[in-house]
């Protein structure tokens, strides 16, 4: 089992005019000590994925499907009625409901499955009555499709609003939240997008890291102070800077201080959202180099989120390419760069200039990314895809494993991978 497993994660935002389908069925995993790059254009759901993993979603955001397992502990999951409620709104609700119910029943009946954990089992058992109800309704031959849907909606409505179910859900949420509070910072730490302003301007930088340490680690104030000095050494900041205020730090120094903060509690995983985007190339190169060295030394896994595919090419072993809330391609970085199985990835790499080799003509992808409150039907990339066929407008593609450790979300993944389609 990988250290971090994200299975079919769906995270939506509720807004006035409806729902933003920000992350919509994302599956990937990350091993110990491994670096994964998550790339994608602005607004495609990268930050939301990171917030879902760390349970730091804003109030209007909610995990509505899938689960997140870290080191064998369930740290994120939507419960059955919530997930079903979302599925029932989709045009393909029937097969998706069947798939969901089958999955749940398999987990309930079978012994330990790949990513199921004790906690998720316990939670599942509490849901089992509802799953059973849904299953019976689905297989009731006397009902028409319309009637089935009506019944299911009633069951879901009941579950979501019943007093006991609500209380159960709250308790479960609280349990996960408590677990996550232990894990956040001490095992998973996060470098936020725009973190240049992460420090409070009125307190000394060193004191702020000491505070964070005291909160999460069992140590005395003197030990924490000593640890901060060590951390400053580690990231190449002069020890004398611990008494400095944030405004006295340059952009690069602030970024180093933030990295020091993220390393404070010896995490096993760092999620870094655009850690170098605001920096100049020379500083970016330095910081990336330092992150990589520390990571190797301390054997930390890392998820680097960025819109710059060349940054990922420099540092990562695996890559995930996101578009419009979906993971279009995921796997080994060399395999994906050398033999992509996805039209969006091919489009993205073809639009990237380089200083190496010959100057080659760049090809733009026509159009622009969709508004995620109204994503296109079928494959979300179809309005811009040069390979698009009739089926792409109609049906959502499934993820295909084209080679070992290489997945692509496309109806023609195999043909593109093998070069039959170019």
């Amino acid at each position: 089992m990988a250290m971090l497993e994200v299975n079919n994660l769906k995270t939506y935002f509720r807004i006035l005019k409806g729902t933003v389908y920000a992350v919509d069925g994302v599956t990937f995993h990350l091993d110990r000590g491994e670096t994964m790059g998550m790339v994608g254009e602005s607004g495609c759901g990268k930050t939301t994925t990171a917030f879902a993993i760390t349970r730091l979603l804003p109030f209007n955001g909610e995990i509505v499907g899938g689960e997140i397992v870290f080191d064998g502990t369930l740290i994120g999951r939507a419960d059955f009625p919530t997930e079903l409620a979302e599925i029932l709104k989709e045009p393909l609700w029937l097969p998706e409901t069947r798939a969901l119910v089958e999955r749940k029943l398999r987990k309930l009946s079978g012994p330990e499955e790949e990513s199921s954990t004790l906690e998720s089992m316990r939670h599942l058992e509490q849901e089992s009555a509802c799953v059973e109800d849904v299953n019976v309704t689905l297989n009731d031959a006397s009902l028409s499709e319309e009637e089935i849907k009506g019944e299911l909606e009633a069951i879901v409505d009941d579950e979501l609003n019943s007093f006991f179910a609500k209380r159960r859900r709250r308790r479960f949420d609280r349990e996960i939240e408590e677990k996550m509070a232990d894990i956040r910072w001490s095992k998973i730490s996060m470098i936020f997008q725009g973190a240049m302003n992460a420090f409070n301007p009125v307190y000394k930088v060193g004191d702020q890291i000491v505070e964070a340490l005291l909160e999460h680690e069992d140590m005395t104030k003197d030990e924490a102070k000593e640890r901060v000095l060590e951390l400053f050494d580690m990231v190449g900041l002069e020890r004398s800077r611990v008494t400095g205020y944030p405004h006295e730090f340059s952009g690069g120094m602030r970024q180093r201080a933030i990295i020091a903060m993220s390393l404070a509690c010896n995490p096993q995983l760092i999620i870094a959202d655009e850690p170098t985007t605001a920096l100049d190339v020379i500083m970016q190169d330095r910081i990336l180099g330092e992150i990589r060295e520390l990571q190797r030394e301390l054997h930390i896994a890392m998820m680097i989120i960025t819109h710059d595919i060349s940054v990922v090419a420099e540092v990562a072993e695996t890559i995930g390419i996101m578009y419009a809330g979906k993971l279009f391609e995921f796997g080994d970085i060399v395999s994906i760069f050398e033999q992509s199985a996805n039209p969006y990835t091919i489009g993205l790499t073809g639009a990237y200039p380089s200083i190496k080799g010959e100057r080659k003509k760049l090809i733009a992808i026509p159009g622009s990314p969709p508004d995620l409150s109204e994503p296109p039907h079928g494959c979300r990339f179809h309005p811009r895809c040069k390979f698009a066929q009739e089926i792409c407008r109609r049906e959502e593609p499934a993820s295909v494993e084209v080679a070992k450790n290489h997945w692509s979300l496309c109806h023609f993944a195999k043909e593109i991978y093998s070069g039959q389609l170019t």
Binding site: E41, I282, D285, I333, L348, I355, G357, I365, S368
Partner: protein
């Protein structure tokens, strides 16, 4: 360097040269406290220092450098949104450095600037038609409303917003980032400018859209032979866009030459470091890293001698004493360095990597051929760093320089 004279002096128009910049300098005085201004010498931000270049017919000159090195200020001088402190600028052979009043207005009709942020450069309350036709109104161009409509429609078409009617009455919030940047470009094109400064025009755009805007600008240049100054902090983007490249550092152009020459065979130690830091979109390529010392100094207290000497790996005795010449080390390829053309510079396509390691003291690269000390604990130190240290700070052994 002479001060800008009131009297203008035009130069012989050189064949094919549209813009000629001679010793351009722009200082911004710092408003310091009363006492400081009484006792101290007045301080300045040296935004642009003694810059020289020419831009030919239909040429795109790319300008790269780190944040704050003076790219935008230089561009603003060229369209006279800023008045230079010293030096001269000749547009079509005519000295436009000190233009005022009506002459300045007519000059501004011929030169246009495209800005970085497509979200801020358009007024959210004006629709596309009003935005694009505004320059026509300001400059009193076009006899009738019909003629102006026609000019706006054409400009939108040039910017590949087709059909123009579909876009004319939209507001910025109804456009995507790429479309907004196209509107900004249409606005600069409507007056048929003879020169365009594009300041980071694609930096805020997503990759998939960025390539479209870059190709649009290239095709405009192709079709109408409009020369550009293309400003960007992104070296890969600048290489794609430009015929020649100027590399700026602390307000100075430290290297200037044909685009491929500067990228493939750089002369200046700063360019070497800059190029080696550029990430490459290919996970199988390893490239030599050349790390320089320290951080960018402030443009207020400029280093004496060569501006790059505090960070340079190749620095010699002369470097902090004498200002180097802008030397033509190869035909048409200049560098501001005493040793331009003589240094073993790492090139982006070099297979061989000249890096021996990183100096434990100054964190900069130690390259092959440099003298350095290797301590028993395997740490490396530049010769100069070792002599400052005397003993290894890690294991406290005495350092011996080898090679």
């Amino acid at each position: 360097m002479e001060a800008v004279e009131e009297e203008r002096e035009d130069v012989e128009s050189e064949e094919g040269v549209v813009y000629k910049v001679v010793n351009l300098t722009k200082l911004f005085p710092i408003k310091s406290g009363f006492f400081a201004s009484l006792f101290g010498k007045e301080k300045n931000v040296h935004a642009v220092n003694d810059v020289n270049f020419t831009i030919g017919e239909g040429e795109i000159l790319g300008m790269v450098g780190e944040s704050g090195c003076g790219k935008t200020t230089c561009g603003r001088c060229l369209v006279r949104l800023e008045t230079p402190t010293e030096g001269h600028m000749y547009f079509g052979g005519k000295d436009i450095t000190g233009l005022k009043g009506r002459e300045l207005k007519s000059f501004r009709r011929d030169v246009q600037m495209v800005f970085q942020d497509p979200y801020e450069s358009l007024n959210p309350r004006l629709n596309v038609y009003t935005t694009v036709s505004e320059p026509l109104v300001v400059h009193g161009v076009g006899e009738s409303a019909d003629e102006r409509d026609d000019m706006v429609a054409k400009a939108l078409q040039y910017a590949e917003l087709k059909p123009p009617e579909e876009f004319m009455y939209r507001y910025p919030h109804e456009l995507s980032g790429g479309q907004r940047q196209r509107v900004a470009i249409a606005r600069t094109l409507v007056l048929r400018p003879r020169f365009i400064v594009a300041d980071e025009p694609v930096s805020m755009l997503d990759v998939s859209i960025r390539a479209g805007i870059m190709n649009l600008m290239l095709s405009l240049r192709e079709r109408y032979k409009i020369p550009f100054l293309f400003i960007s902090h992104d070296v890969s983007v600048t290489r794609y866009m430009s015929h020649s490249i100027a590399v700026m550092y602390l307000g100075y152009i430290v290297e200037l030459g044909a685009s491929e020459a500067v990228i493939k065979d750089p002369l200046h130690p700063y360019t070497e470091a800059l190029l080696s830091a550029v990430p490459v979109p290919d996970p199988t390529m390893k490239h030599g890293r050349v790390k320089i010392k320290g951080d960018l100094p402030s443009p207020i207290d400029m280093p004496p001698g060569c501006v790059f000497h505090p960070r340079c790996l190749y620095r010699k005795d002369i470097c902090d004493k004498e200002m180097p010449q802008f030397k033509e080390a190869r035909p048409g390829h200049y560098a501001l360095c005493h040793f331009a053309g003589e240094l073993p510079i790492q090139r982006p396509d070099d297979e061989e990597i000249f890096e021996v390691g990183v100096c434990e003291y100054c964190k900069a690269t130690i390259k092959k051929g440099m003298s350095y000390a290797k301590c028993d604990c395997n740490k490396l130190y530049h010769e100069s760093c070792a002599s400052q240290l005397d003993e290894c700070p890690i294991c406290k052994k005495k350092l011996q320089v080898e090679e």
